[in-house]
Amino acid sequence: MDPILSVQELSVEYATRRGALRAARDVSFDVESGETVAIIGESGSGKTTLAVALVRLLPRNARVSAGAIRFTRDGITRDVLRLDDEELREFRWRECALVFQSALNAFNPVIDIWSQFLDTARAHGMKDTKAVRDRSFELLDLVHLDPERVLRAYPHELSGGMRQRVLIALGLLLHPALLILDEPTTALDILTQRAIIDLLRELRTKLGFSMLFISHDLSLAAELADRVVTMYAGRAVERAGVEDLFYRPRHPYSIGLLRAVPRVTGALGSVASIPGSPPDLISPPPGCPYHPRCPLAIDACLAAVPPLLPVDMPRHDAACIRWQEVARTIGTAERHVAEKLA
């Protein structure tokens, strides 16, 4: 069966004063039906650009310079980049809904939650107010909120966690097959984060949608993802199943990132930051963009951008010519990288 979302060699450029900033370059990945994929990376890795490009909400100074975004539902495959305005509007909520990073800014502050539900539904051809009301009740129930109370509230009257729940409910209004979440828990407190994570997991099981979430937070990927794509300097540098990524990474940047984020419980292991800082995306270094920070870099790393190629694990690709070196040190055992390197 075709994956529900297939991103192929997608490149996005921003026009800036200093020249073209290539925020995403040749990014490819698939989201299978019912699967959760996490895209992780630091600020400037291009992950948010990617999320926004997927639903074609890029700002005016940005453009998709190459690639395709194929979306498949009920056996019909369409290229999102070729949809006209009407098709796009349909696509954005019915096929794929985006839950934004800042739950407060995503709402219109001067209208109550019920009106936001109603407006969204009407904009997509749900004319029957009663049906919208029933659906809103059902969804708010699903996200463990009191529908009576919440629908009458204005956005500022809700706590951060409640707003995030409402936003998730709103995203699910038109039964999308894919939910895209941009940093869904970043601004939330620990206990609220936990509640949102548990909620997403529960909804996924009940409703069977696929999820693509974008985060700098590795622990969110560890919690929810089936597969993980690591991004660096606009490129996907590693694609792997979640356990492969945390226990058997093959790209030095993934290792660097894993070691940079200590665990709270369990052994501390070998914790360290990555030296240096992320590259300038307008004039990136030659060859592999990570080589200036990479402990394994050799001369050959400067010669060409390494392609994303299969490594020693199934469904696992890394863009590193030194991956075998990495595999020798890391091995295949089911243990966190920081422990293995200790």
Binding site: I190, E223, F246, L258, A260, P262, V264, G266, A267
Partner: protein
């Protein structure tokens, strides 16, 4: 573990703020000692009072009641030389690297001003040399590449290093770092924490790290203590590893169980303490008794909803503000003797790996 009295102490400090909706107690009866060369983390969720506590420690806010003692002297009653000495002795490193440096001043100007003002350098040349060595100390090398830069030409991590160097110009005894790494990229947080810990080892500077991130607190506080705050109060104060392995306060237990970990197997198999309610009470309408009791699965009617629990020692270096935990732990201590709490808790390596 101390040589003499603590360097700096908060004694029953309360700080209130007036808001349009009423008076809130951002910090309520907090007592905290900080020894020379000690690293302590204040941990808690937003609104718990950790930042206010940090600012009280730094003398930037005046307590509504209670005392701030520096080397035994009440800071807010001292004058002249004593007050000046205190003010310079405690330096703050702010959270936002984009706001903590003046956009119109170069790195050299930022560092030279306090050096010249406090006569640590007589000439511009001496000030520049001193600035160079400070930059070197905070890992901005070669220093000449940075002296003439404006803040916007530096990355977030580099700015935080400049902020730390700026604090070092006055030879502080205490650095209060308020979420000092939360706004820099994850890949470089550890080196910043290492830098702060290095200052402690090298100059004996005491460091107070304020963070909402338990992973940061765990790494930073390896050889120190953590104070967990909830709605303006310290609910548990323990050696870091002990708190992580065996939290005594139900709120600490809930936090540690809830925190997502960057490890799929670990995080998906964690023991959780489910709370009765997800709603955090407003500081304007705090519940009676223990302010955690409406959410606490272990709360006992007639006790927790009536009496405010005080932060009570439960053996070793631990203190907890929970009626139930205090009763259980002291009963346990009585039954098993003092042995359990006299474990060499500073020995991190031995206790590692025992959790999870």
């Amino acid at each position: 573990m101390t040589n003499g009295s603590p360097l700096i102490r908060l004694v029953h400090v309360t700080r209130e703020f007036k808001t349009p909706a009423g008076v809130i107690k951002a910090v309520d009866d907090v007592s905290l000692d900080l020894d020379r060369g000690e690293a302590i983390c204040l941990v808690g969720e937003s609104g718990c009072g950790k930042t206010t506590t940090g600012r009280l420690l730094a003398g930037l806010l005046r307590p509504t009641s209670g005392e701030l003692l520096f080397e035994g002297n009440d800071v807010w009653r001292s004058r002249g030389a004593d007050q000046v000495r205190f003010r310079r002795a405690v330096q703050l490193v702010h959270q936002d690297p984009y706001a903590s440096l003046n956009p119109v001043r170069t790195v050299e100007q930022v560092l030279a001003a306090p050096l010249r003002h406090h006569r640590k350098a007589q000439t511009a040349k001496q000030a520049r040399a001193a600035a160079r060595s400070l930059l070197q100390r905070v890992g901005l090398t070669p220093p000449d590449d940075f002296l003439h830069k404006f803040p916007h030409q530096l990355s977030g991590g580099q700015r935080q290093r400049v902020s730390i160097a700026r604090a070092l110009t006055v030879d502080p005894r205490v650095i209060v770092a308020d979420e000092a790494v939360s706004m820099v990229d994850v890949s470089i947080r550890i080196t910043l924490l290492d830098l702060l810990l290095g200052l402690r080892d090298e100059f004996g500077v005491s460091i107070v790290l304020i963070t909402h991130d338990l992973a940061v607190a765990r790494y930073f506080g390896r050889a120190g203590r953590i104070a967990v705050m909830y709605l303006g109060r310290v609910v548990e104060l323990s050696a870091t590893q002990e708190l992580i392995d065996d939290p005594a306060h139900p709120y600490a237990t809930a936090l540690i169980g809830a925190i997502p970990e960057a490890d799929p197997d670990l995080t998906r198999s964690k023991q959780r303490l489910p709370l009765k309610s997800a709603d955090v009470p407003s500081l304007l309408r705090l519940p009676p008794g223990c302010s955690f009791h409406p959410r606490c699965p272990r709360a006992e009617a007639g006790l927790c909803d009536v009496l405010v629990p005080a932060l009570t020692p439960i053996g070793g270096t631990r203190s907890v503000a929970c009626h139930v935990a205090v009763r259980e732990r002291t009963a346990l201590a009585a039954a098993t003797g003092p042995f359990r709490f006299d474990l060499p808790w500073v020995d991190i390596d031995k206790s590692e790996g025992s959790a999870g």
